[in-house]
Amino acid sequence: MTTLLQPDSVYFYGTCLIDSVYPNAGVSAVELLQRAGIRVIYPQAQTCCGQPAWNSGYRDEAREVARKQIALFPKDIPIVVPSGSCGGMMKHHYPELFKGEPDEAMALQVAGRIYEFTEFLVDVLEIKLAGKGVKTDVAIHTSCSARREMGVADKIEQLVGQLENITVHEQHHKKECCGFGGTFAIKEPEISASMVTDKADAIRETGASVMITQDCGCMMNISGAFEYENQHHALRMPQSKHIAEFLLERSEVLCTKYDINVPETSDTTEDATHG
């Protein structure tokens, strides 16, 4: 494990899905990092991590795209990815994808600097948050890649758990996949549909008014089902929020491990942060 010096700046890898479908999740993540005193660099030449092709068996096509991405992070600083799935691709599959390639060392170097967004907030920054706004009932859906590939399922829980006005409800079969799986949803639409319908039902049954997740693939899938069921069967529709959006709206950054300062709360005392 590499020990990080005080990370005063990070690269932000927005992911292709956030870029075109949920940019607000990306903007929120960047703002939150800034509020925690971090300078954010967003290489404009980024496109996609290559995962869709990788998971479809098109390894050469995936590698060519990945090769362009690994060249975007020359400085030895963390790369923050607001997705367990894309983070997992870069951290765990780039080494495999570049095995024996001339740029293998660079791929490994990049892989070693990948942090999923919630992981970065919790493990690196040790961020302390205070909740704001009205009492809210939420359910958390952790993506399978965040849970099993990145092993960061507890981070999102830890972050939301800091907000005293938020009550987390647990849906049944919580650890079960929502049925997105990238191209799986297209190649096996019937199975995927059955999975997402069950997942949406389970979350709705908790009574939560907001579903929070850290992966936009799951969000597109589950929120699409919420909306469909709302339109066609008049079922209640919980809101869907990426964790970055949710935290930006519903919390204040009190401090981080580095005490890098945090604009509005510069006079916050240590004690208050543990309150």
Partner: protein, 471 residues
């Protein structure tokens, strides 16, 4: 609209069958939570998995030597060994033994390798009766079905369905949905058969090279009966089932039974080390072992896919699979269903026949997380997708056979755009490609979901406008 594949047709039927889906959900939920109770200490579980993986890896690392040793020691113990490269050869070996004893029937303990061989069908064509004695196998045999699970072959049926089946097949016996009474009925019928069967056939869980011992775990005692009552016992198994030492068995067995049926140990543990010896009162007079390859050597030749052969057939990956729990075992159309089937079947029978299964996974990782021998099932599924579309030759059967020009072109186009931000940022974005990948299939997505909303301004544009540094 292209015609649905057989697999997709079976999947649609299965998804529409609420009773069967309910049966699977209930059974799998129970199995998952009971398994969890068996491993209260997560660190201990991880240690046991590493240990079990090491034992199985060692077996595979030394497979040729161990098989030779196994044969030597079995032979020394008086157990006759038969090698079969194909299922045809394996069936012929069994037939030759049957013929030698002029046997017209056999009683069977549970054996997935015999399913792989299509043994029952093969024998029945020749007028030889094969009676399944495992309760689950007995039930599906009555109904003319295939196993829907490798450990619990009749798990797709609930007790009401079984009661009705018994009523239809044994009209003289009063109708009951009482599980104990149903079991008693089967037991009575089977007892008779055990005493008259000239041959008993069983599978093997582990074959110990060092001692020439065949280990078999089971819960009903039918395995013990099949292997001890008839005068001839034939065991059939795959060549990968060998382990080096007797001391390898306890740790493997313990993680096997806990992962499979959430039992610290099964009711019966059979260690078969020889036929009846001089002066002994019981046991078969002859014991045979048929060792089946059926594509396993080929799997063995690939350093990554080789991990497939570590499998100890516990079924945990199946129990935890969100796809299996919905489509059930029969949808797969293969002997082995679920994640292990998805990995094994396309390698064994070729990607042309079963490569489609590799698509039927969301790669959620639930299988890999529970596998007691740490087979990286999601990675192997991903690898088989690659094998399906790769352009060069590889050792995997039918590699490249699933490549379709249109799809390959789409990925090439996607790749080109994603390598060129200027092109990518002007419309070839994720959502756009996502839609392109499903030309006429947006319908499938929108049958239960609304279409993904495309943002007015991309993240690239918004962060640029906010003055976020580019480097």
């Amino acid at each position: 609209m292209a015609k649905l594949s057989d697999f997709r047709v079976r999947v649609e039927d299965a998804l529409a069958n609420e009773e069967v889906r309910g049966n699977f959900r209930k059974a799998m939920d129970g199995l998952m939570s009971r398994r969890l109770d068996q491993f209260p200490d997560e660190a201990e579980l991880e240690r046991l998995r590493t240990q079990a993986m090491a034992i199985r890896s060692n077996s595979l690392d030394n497979l040729p030597d161990l098989l030779e040793k196994l044969e030597t020691n079995l032979t020394k113990n008086g157990i006759q060994v038969h090698w079969a490269e194909t299922v045809e050869e394996a069936n012929q070996h069994v037939l030759a033994i049957m013929n030698k004893h002029n046997a017209k029937s056999m009683i069977k303990g549970k054996s997935m390798v015999s399913e792989e061989m299509g043994l029952n069908h093969f024998m029945e064509e020749l007028g030889i009766e094969c009676l399944e004695s495992d309760l689950g196998e007995f039930i599906i045999q009555l109904d003319g079905e295939m196993p829907s699970h490798i450990i619990m072959p009749a798990i797709h049926k609930n007790k009401r369905q079984i009661a009705k089946l018994f009523q239809e097949k044994f009209p003289d016996i009063p109708y009951t949905e009482d599980v104990d009474e149903l079991t008693q009925t089967a037991r009575k019928i089977l007892r008779e058969k055990f005493f008259n069967a000239p041959v008993g056939l069983s599978g093997v869980n582990f074959a110990v090279a060092e001692t020439g011992t065949l280990c078999l775990v089971e819960n009903e005692g039918n395995g013990r009966m099949s292997t001890t009552v008839p005068p001839v016992h034939i065991a059939v198994t795959g060549i990968e089932k060998v382990v080096e030492k007797l001391s390898d068995v306890p740790p493997l067995m313990s993680i096997l039974t806990r992962s499979a049926t959430a039992q610290p140990i099964t009711t019966y543990v059979n260690m078969i080390s020889s036929p009846r010896k001089e002066g002994e009162m019981d046991g078969p007079k002859e014991v045979h072992l048929v060792l089946l390859d059926n594509g396993r050597s080929n799997i063995y030749s690939d350093p990554e896919l080789l991990a497939t052969l570590r499998c100890i057939r516990c079924g945990a990956c199946i129990n935890h699979c969100p796809v299996y729990v919905r489509v059930g075992g029969h949808s797969y159309g293969t002997v082995y269903p679920g994640p292990i089937g998805t990995v094994l079947e396309p390698q064994k029978d070729g990607l042309k026949a079963h490569g489609e299964l590799a698509q039927a996974s969301s790669l959620c990782g639930a299988c890999g997380e529970v596998c007691p021998v740490r087979i990286p099932l999601p990675s192997l599924i991903n690898r088989l997708r690659y094998e399906g579309v790769r352009q060069d030759q590889s050792s995997t059967k039918d590699s490249g056979s699933r490549r379709k020009t249109a799809e390959a072109l789409t990925w090439k186009g996607w790749s080109f755009a994603a390598q060129h931000p200027l092109i990518y940022n002007t419309g070839a974005s994720a959502a756009a490609s996502f839609r392109k990948l499903m030309p006429s299939k947006m319908g499938a997505w929108t049958r239960v979901r609304t279409a993904p909303p495309i943002a007015a301004k991309t993240l690239h544009q918004q962060l640029k406008a906010k003055g976020i540094d580019n480097e």
